[in-house]
């Protein structure tokens, strides 16, 4: 094998082409293969933080808007009496109170809806 021959042999080849996936990674701005796990961990941490924050907020809002236990019982009892006073009336009263509890306070509703309701009352 002479030097010239070896150079000729080398020139019969060229370096391998990049994989198609590399183009997608570069143009898509995706994470590098070796560091992809960092983004997965970050996404999981962000999801957990979001969950904890929304859960805490939900509990705070619920406790602020829910009637006290005694007040709730009184409301259920009053509504049960209004609906007839039997077991079926009590079940219906419970259902209605739950519906009211889960509804947003009137001030938090859409401004347009509030305005329409106020106009209707007038």
């Amino acid at each position: 094998v002479t030097v010239d021959h070896l150079e000729d042999v080398l020139r019969r080849y060229r370096p391998a082409r990049p994989p198609e996936e590399l183009r997608r990674r570069v143009l898509g701005g995706g994470p590098s293969r070796s560091r992809a796990w960092i983004y997965s961990i970050a996404a999981a941490a962000a999801a957990m933080t979001f969950y904890l924050l929304t859960d805490a907020t939900y509990r705070r809002v619920l406790s602020a808007t829910s009637p006290t236990v005694g007040g709730r019982e009184a409301a259920v009892a009053a509504m049960t009496a209004d609906l007839g006073g039997d077991d079926r009336a009590r079940l219906e009263a419970e259902r209605l109170i739950r519906t009211i509890e889960s509804a947003a306070p009137i001030d938090a509703r859409m401004p347009d809806v509030v305005a329409i309701e106020e106009a209707a009352r007038e």
Binding site: R14, L27, G29
Partner: protein, 170 residues
């Protein structure tokens, strides 16, 4: 004056990639002797460029080529330093492809890949730049930051060593 200019558009990034990716990937693959690591290195270089909003300036492609080659070289050598290796025994297959229109000789290709893998990284790099990039020793010296004589000597040693390895295997 790097041959690059600020322009973050996707079209320009695609043009930059299509123009240089093959050359840069081949360069990285020959330095690292590892296709997956080479893809990571090239991706990292493009990522740094795009984060900075840079793309190629068509008015100075030679300077852009020099800039990109240097960036890939730095990235590859950083990776080699991190792994504390410059000579790789187990060579990743398919570092080379046959030029279109020539008869395939898998045994020859494999022998060349293995022989290249046995060279010191600096010699492997010079062979790549001389044979496949067509650079002069002066241009190679500008890229590696060493005298042109050193580049020429490395090339000579590399070819001689390749010749010995291939002759022994023949």
């Amino acid at each position: 004056m790097t041959g690059l200019r600020r322009d973050g558009s996707r079209e320009r990034l695609a043009a930059l990639y299509d123009t240089w990716a093959a050359s840069l990937f081949g360069y990285a693959a020959l330095i690292l002797v590892d296709r997956a690591a080479a893809a990571d290195a090239v991706h990292q270089v493009f990522l740094k460029l795009t984060r900075a909003g840079f793309t190629i300036d068509e008015r100075s492609p030679a300077m852009a080529a020099a800039y990109l080659r240097r960036a890939v070289r730095n990235e590859c050598y950083s990776r080699l330093r991190a792994k504390k290796r410059s000579i790789v025994v187990a060579v990743d297959a398919h570092l080379l492809e046959l030029v279109e229109g020539l008869d395939d000789r898998p045994a020859e290709r494999l022998a060349l890949e293995q022989a290249l893998g046995e060279l010191p990284v600096e010699q492997r790099e010079v062979v790549h730049l001389k044979i496949w990039e067509g650079l002069t020793f002066q241009e190679i010296a500008a890229l590696t930051g060493e005298p042109a004589d050193t580049a020429a000597s490395r090339y000579r040693y590399a070819i001689e060593k390749l010749r010995n390895i291939l002759s022994a295997k023949a």
